[in-house]
Chain length 498, copies 2
């Protein structure tokens, strides 16, 4: 691994410019960010997701960036943007996504698209307060609560503010910059391959991609990541009687789908979280020495995380989180059969469904992983179908499972030994005063493989959000200190030489 | 067992009167029944459940029956009624319930409280048609679809019509009659013990209780039953992280409650439906010789039922339904964790809940059954709590289960050798031309123990509904032939000597 680069004067000046800018314009940055967060951004909400794209388009355009909304049928726009820097030899690609995780029945303290400022984490007694006016000092421990406050609208606010700060300080960029802003990352970017097929050559001159997404390390130390896990999922439904039966008249006789599903899931995963499915771990690529070294150097925060999450025990006998993330995972994301609580009824339900989430590591192909799981389900005696079985099908098979394979994408990794790496580390150091933790792979998923494989370029993840941002859950938030870190970091990255 | 009694002339005349009456008044009976079915009757819906009681009160009162709405705080009214028959030496108690199973998210073909007439079962192509006008012949294969059409408002329609028919034919009753109409049977009659404490002595002179509830045998043959299973339930929630975690950042590390719950349930029930919990079967009273004889004499319909319900296999290696009903059962009524389907999200949910339904046989005490299940949960390493665990509690126990014990009541059985039994059988024979199947116990639950134990009188269940009535589920219905059977049967019962 190359020696650490020191931040040069230009980067220090860029960070200073960012800081100076927000002394006077901090309230404006937060209020503008609030306006973006107020636009509902579920990818399936076509009208609103378009409004997000138009807002972002407008904000970059009025700063003189050439920006276009690319379209394919049935998908949110992909936002393409380009900043040409006179004399620049290199081109930096920046990726972020403007859609957010769908809501479901989460109980938010505040409505998710009514961004609300708190003096600290709600769970630790943070109090609601108005967004600041222009003369008020801004406490970096404040948090904005809103869907996508962290994941993944914060990079837009930070990037716009960083561009404004550099412009005001008359500090020139050092490279060309191209933007690729995704509008359906939270549903696994199903149209991104098509977008890249159609429009990919506009990105041919990008030398390195930076992915602006994800949280910093749980210690609050900065991190940069060279890979991300892939993702896919499956829905498995097992069937009892064709319609719900009275649990008195038929209880002890009719098969109970909730019990069948429990047996099936228990056969897949043991009590320590080890997946028992034949072949599940076989295709994972071995972890190389550089990556093992980076893993060994990472801070161990497991005990603190367990305390934070109220856990005495974690899977695999308490093995280290980072080591566990180097393996594919199988998570029971959802279970549903009949009803529970006050809605529970005295019936034998007709079916039970499990939603299974998979995270993949380098080497795992989504379809192959589906195959090994289906083979396991068959080994448990199930006949597999793709649609709800008809009466005649039910009369032919003792055990029937409907398996729906959801889309997904594989994991990807970028080499940790590229010459740009020390430059990025120097930018982090300039922004926050310490070098980043080097993470061989994030546990989370990003369509990194499209950059590394389809576009064939290195792709490095540069996260800014606080780790406790409640990403994908209720009360998602961003800590202002992390937003400011993003602004400083982007100012430094836009002025690095590589 | 006493020899079969033959229906006497009075009972035959009573049945003839019922039949004659509905030739001219059949449409009126159905339309009046429709008016009762149109009143929503979930026990927790205080305003509407009261409207049901008032409607029933009014209908009996205008027929000259002395009827009163008894009240205890927070409960639907208990309807008390009495018909004094001059010179009668005996008193027959009649029980029915006017509340219905709560709805939940069932998808009904028609709204559940908009009673709708079909020419046959909807599932087999029955077509919707208007309620008949007074000159139209009524096809006994028609069905009325509505919540409680069978369970348990049909007895009210049949009883009112039987009383009208006997009155019109000037056929006197042979006994005094007392009514006890329950308004919260579907939530296990929680206030009935209190009602009987307060008002029970008005029923002191009842000699035998007839419970007007439940379906006839699956063969469509009539049946009478001498017992019912008891019922209780539990909710078991197991916990993962204190709040949902991103399945990428923490998947393979944080414990997954859906997997934990699957292991717990799989440890309770094997793949053939045998309960593996120590002591679960220990308290069941042995089945006596008369009951064994009755069980052996019952028709075997298992294969037809399996075909009807789309099942190749039933529990315990396909053991006979009636034999399985002589044992307590443990049913996974509901499962819930996170979300499935389009609402599924990429999180490790914070908890997973199972709703467990128990059906009890004679000898099983609900609290003792709860105890053996809790002992099993503890043996699996769980610390049991009654409320959602606080952070500090979570940090003290590796596995935590919240167990909520719901109310319930025990099973009960009445002797099959009482002198009234042949009289009831004769009434059935008069009504339908064949003697009933004798059932030692129904699989379903009724608060029979209150009659046999609290009031200390024999209690025999006299069902009329078609077995395929979709009781407790969507598209509940009554077949008109079964409504007519009820009318005939009640006319015969009200004119029997015992």
């Amino acid at each position: 691994m190359p020696a650490l680069a020191q931040p040069d004067l230009e980067q220090r000046a860029a960070v200073e410019a960012a800081r100076a800018y927000r002394v006077t314009r901090g309230a404006e940055i937060l209020n503008d960010f609030g306006a973006l967060l107020a636009i509902p951004n579920t990818a399936s909400d076509a009208a609103n997701i378009e409004r997000n794209a138009e807002y972002i388009h407008f904000e970059f355009k009025r700063r003189g960036v050439r920006v276009e909304l690319l379209k394919v049928h049935g998908a949110p726009p992909l936002i393409y943007g380009v900043i040409k820097t006179p004399g620049a030899a290199r081109t930096l690609g920046l990726y972020a996504h403007y859609d957010g995780q769908p809501l479901n029945h989460d109980r938010w303290t505040q409505p998710p698209w009514e961004p609300t400022l708190y003096t600290g984490p709600i769970r630790h007694g943070g109090r609601q307060r108005p967004f600041p006016d222009e003369h008020e000092p801004i406490d970096p421990e404040w948090r904005i609560y809103a869907r996508s406050a962290s994941d993944d609208k914060a990079p837009f606010a930070a990037l716009l503010a960083a561009l404004d700060a550099l412009h005001e300080a008359q500090i020139p960029l050092t490279s060309n910059v191209k933007f690729l802003f995704d509008g359906e990352e939270e549903r696994s970017s199903p149209h991104l391959p098509q977008y890249l097929d159609l429009y990919g050559e506009v990105y041919d001159d990008v030398d390195t991609w930076l992915l602006l997404d994800g949280p910093v390390h749980q210690t609050r130390r900065p991190q940069i990541a060279f890979g991300a896990r892939g993702i896919t999922s499956m829905e498995v439904t097992v069937y009892g009687p064709e319609h719900p039966l009275h649990s008195g008249h038929y209880g002890n006789w009719a098969p109970v789908p909730g019990a069948m599903l429990s047996h099936l899931l228990a056969s897949m995963i043991d009590a320590e979280g080890h997946v028992l499915i034949d072949g599940f771990y076989d295709s994972a690529a071995p972890v190389g020495p550089t990556e093992q070294e980076a893993v060994a150097a990472m801070p161990v925060q497991d005990e603190a995380l367990r305390r934070e999450f109220g856990l005495v025990h974690t899977e695999d006998g308490g093995a280290r989180l980072i080591e566990r993330l180097m393996l594919p995972s199988l998570t029971v994301k959802g279970l549903q059969s009949g009803n529970v609580g006050t809605r529970s009824r005295n019936v034998i339900p007709a079916f039970a469904t499990a939603s299974l989430g998979l995270r993949l590591v380098k080497g795992n192909d989504p379809a192959t992983m589906h195959d090994v799981i289906e083979a396991h389900i068959r080994k448990q005696g199930y006949h597999i179908v793709r649609v709800t079985p008809e009466h005649e099908t039910r009369l032919q098979h003792e055990k029937i499972a409907r398996v729906i394979r959801r889309k997904g994408y594989p994991a990807a990794r970028t080499s940790m030994d590229l010459p740009i790496v020390p430059q990025i580390e120097a930018a982090v150091e300039a922004a926050i005063g310490q070098p980043p933790i080097r993470v061989p792979t994030l546990g989370a998923s990003m369509p990194l493989h499209l950059f590394t494989d389809a576009l064939g370029k290195p792709a490095i993840i540069v996260p800014i959000a606080n780790h406790d941002n409640n990403q994908h859950a209720a009360d998602e938030n961003i800590r202002i200190a992390n937003l400011w870190y993003g602004m400083d970091l982007y100012a430094a990255l836009l002025t690095m030489w590589f």
